[in-house]
Amino acid sequence: MTPADAPAVPGAFDGAFDTATLRPLVPAVIGVLVRRGADFATAEDAVQEALVEAWRTFGAPASSDRGELPRDLKGWLVTVAWRRFLDVVRSETARQRREVAVELEPERGPAETADDTLRVFFLCAHPALTPASAVALTLRAVAGLTTRQVAEAYLVPEATMAQRISRAKRTVSGEAFDRPGDLATVRRVLYLVFNEGYSGDVDLAAEAIRLTRQLAALAGPDGQDPETDGLLALMLLHHARRPARLRDDGTLVPLADQDRSRWDIGLIEEGVTVLQAALAQQRRGEYQLQAAIAALHADAPSAAETDWVQVVQWYDELLALTGSPVVRLNRAVAVGEADGARAGLAALAEVDPDLPRHRAASAYLHEKDGDLVTAARLYAEAAGLATNLAERTHLTREAARLNRAAR
């Protein structure tokens, strides 16, 4: 049987198996263990070990002595993880020579709920954690990645990431599992994961989208949590552009120059559908508004044909909501497109000049205004202030282009 004709339900096929099949089950399984009385940190370790066990048992090549995949993979994981947890508790208890404090045999029956899964999300994004710790813990305990994969994705040594994760677990270990948390903190963490993009063998953007989908489903049926849907739409609309964002050599292609035929139409359509349902709820938030702007770009056949007037209107609303200086900067560029370079420069004059992209925006608007010499100088300055090499190369190239044109 090929993966293509395998049923969509994980656990019900005997085809290609990899840990990606299991990873969506991880937060629910942790939730079950915690509900049965396990502490979060030990439960999380036990579930990771159960994943390794699953890989050993079912991941072997088909020709060898591979175990048969159980129909109920989640039940299998719960059983194995709970056994691991008991092993840990027993050995610790033996070491401490005192009575077992927890009930060792779990009760049978429905022991988990969607709320428990959601609480694993909340705990991993707990406000007591630094953003870096929340991201790391979320990728391990919610996404089910190994410490090594998380370390590779963030280009740090595995021992460093292991330490970061175990400190994070200690930080949240005293927190009540039963209390509902704040969806906004979870959304922020998932947005950070998405922004990291991809390096190593884990596609963090795709992973963030998967988790946001899961969060949106947990937070309520369609449209009950419009901001999480807004975040999902924003991610889908950005992800759709990815095939056109980078050249083969890793340099950036700005939005205006992207080959729009390479955008992923399927993702755009899904993003727009999700966004429309969210906006219809009339409870707007910043992710919905950002997604609305991304949707207008996605909808335009070219940069010139973009509905810039509407883009500016969305930026106005976003600015009123957030007061963010970065929004003010992006708005100034959009004003430049809608009302001309002079209007854009006037809007930019209201923006803090120390913002990272201020010079690049100013260069762009000056070029649009026909002042190539100033634009070239500003692009060269912007290159020196860039925060990544792809951006620096792009800005240097823009300066080079204008210096040649101005000669």
Partner: protein
Amino acid sequence: MPKYLILKHYRGAPATVNDVSMDQWAPEEVDAHMKFMDDFGKRLEDNGEYVDAQALSPEGAWVRADEQRQPATDGPFAETKDLIAGWYVVDVDGWDRAVELAGELSLAPGKDGKPIHEWLEVRPFYGAPSATDA
């Protein structure tokens, strides 16, 4: 195998032969330069000699604790200051190979497609004492 650091400088190295700032090149020359650097890194990996490569922003500052034990900064860096741009760490047979690699890197193309002949700093790492030391 010993490790060496091959250091690139924004400023502070002896002047290069083809010394024109990058924004004065043609855009295609910028592309060619970046491709050369990219290929160089890939070649090191293919050779089994690559350890690490990082590029540094020219931004930053000097930091020290002041008399109140609080961090005090001095920066941005003065124009006269030696300024490191980035590095490769290579694990190679010895000094001669490290010098050979730095020589290749020095020939990165610049303005008019001509090699820059940039000066690179090559520095040996102190390794761990070997099992037969002392």
